[in-house]
Symmetry: C2
Subunit: 219 residues, 2 copies
DNA sequence: GTCTATAGATGGATAGAC
DNA sequence: GTCTATCCATCTATAGAC
């Protein structure tokens, strides 16, 4: 009679996945906009229109949810960068010039930053995790540098005349350029420049960044 | 120091000033090392070895304490930068070259970053306030750009051939280079490079940053 | 002025009903 | 599985004793 609850109906499973996805999306958005510590589990579940216990049920804890968002987005970003670096290697028989290496480093986060891109918020989340991340995230950032090593090696090969130390520092400067692309900094620049900077034009911004960084590497 | 000219009970006044200074120093240090939201009033008063109520008595609230540290350190930094820019102007009859303008922008925060400098922690506090600051601080950062305007104007005058928009973006890139000089990023770079980068040598780092940024501006 | 004790508010996590 | 009610820890801020 009332056996319909014994077997998991497909609707339930879909509803479960939908709930988890809603929590994930709401959390990423709120964390990216307001900071990790300024967003409570209650804020997330309210935004996602699910019940309060959903975060702990689906992810274990608030920190585990944070970490899962972090892992997914960084691995996606690293994959895109690695693919572009691979393509640059293929185009140039394993010896791409500095500009194309930097292009593989800059393009993915800038493509995500496009106002038309649904991942626009994800890159803000990633940038924020660099300064506000939990101990888990900081440990990953600290130890998981294999992805960056490939870029460092490529740059060293492209500029064998430079001391390796110099190349590492210049890579550090380039990363700083990327990490400064936060909403708040864009707004500040917009204000400073009297409104003539248009951060929505990510294609133009990419060219600007490449011009600046490539010249810096050639010094 | 200049407050000692008021004639009141010396011991009490000194003790009061000492307590306030101890709270200020402990707060700045803990905030810089662990982040604003991760440090409680209890942590601060314990570190300063004063009673729990001291923060509210001397500063009004935790946020007001944060804001007071922020105001003092940023005004000190801005003053040093303005003085160096002024000196560069005097050396070059009001038309300093790009490198000397950038030198006035980079030198103060790097001088503070020296391991031998007692303000080493202050610059970490300032950098952190850019991403974790309260609404008060963000409003100041957003609206108080008069200090940066002088640098932007000087750069525009030094490169009149460039579109103004380009100069603003390149200034933004330079600020990103500075803001990326966090302890955590230094550690990561140290790890990535196999230990060959020495961030303690701030004089060398300043030269590296100037070489990179100047070349970027000449593109 | 200093300090203890506590109010008042919030947040993460969970038990238990359904 | 979902959701409500609640526990418990923690924090800021403050009242009141001294």
């Amino acid at each position: 009679m009332t056996d319909s609850q014994i077997h998991d109906p497909p609707e339930t499973e879909e509803a479960q996945a939908a709930t988890k996805a809603a929590v994930f999306a709401a959390a990423e958005r709120l964390f990216a906009l307001h900071g990790f510590q300024n967003v409570s589990v209650r804020d997330i579940t309210a935004e996602a229109r699910v019940n309060l216990a959903s975060v702990n049920y689906h992810f274990g804890s608030k920190d585990a949810l944070l970490f899962e968002i972090f892992k997914r987005r960084t691995s996606e970003l690293n994959r895109e960068r690695a693919r572009m670096l691979h393509e640059a290697n293929e185009r140039h028989a394993g010896q791409p010039p500095v500009r194309e290496i930097l292009e593989a480093l800059f393009t993915p986060p800038l493509r995500w930053s496009d106002p038309a891109n649904e991942r626009r918020i994800s890159i803000q989340f990633i940038i924020r995790s660099r300064s506000e991340g939990t101990a888990d995230m900081r440990e990953v950032l600290q130890n998981d540098v294999s992805h960056l090593e490939r870029f460092a090696d490529a740059l060293i090969a492209a500029r064998p005349d430079l001391p390796r130390e110099t190349v590492y520092w210049r890579l550090h400067f380039c990363l700083g350029m990327i990490h400064n692309n936060r909403f708040a900094e864009f707004d500040r620049l917009h204000h400073l420049s009297g409104g003539i900077t248009r951060e929505g034009d990510v294609k133009a911004l990419l060219t600007r960044m490449l011009d600046f960084a490539e010249a810096g590497f050639m010094a």
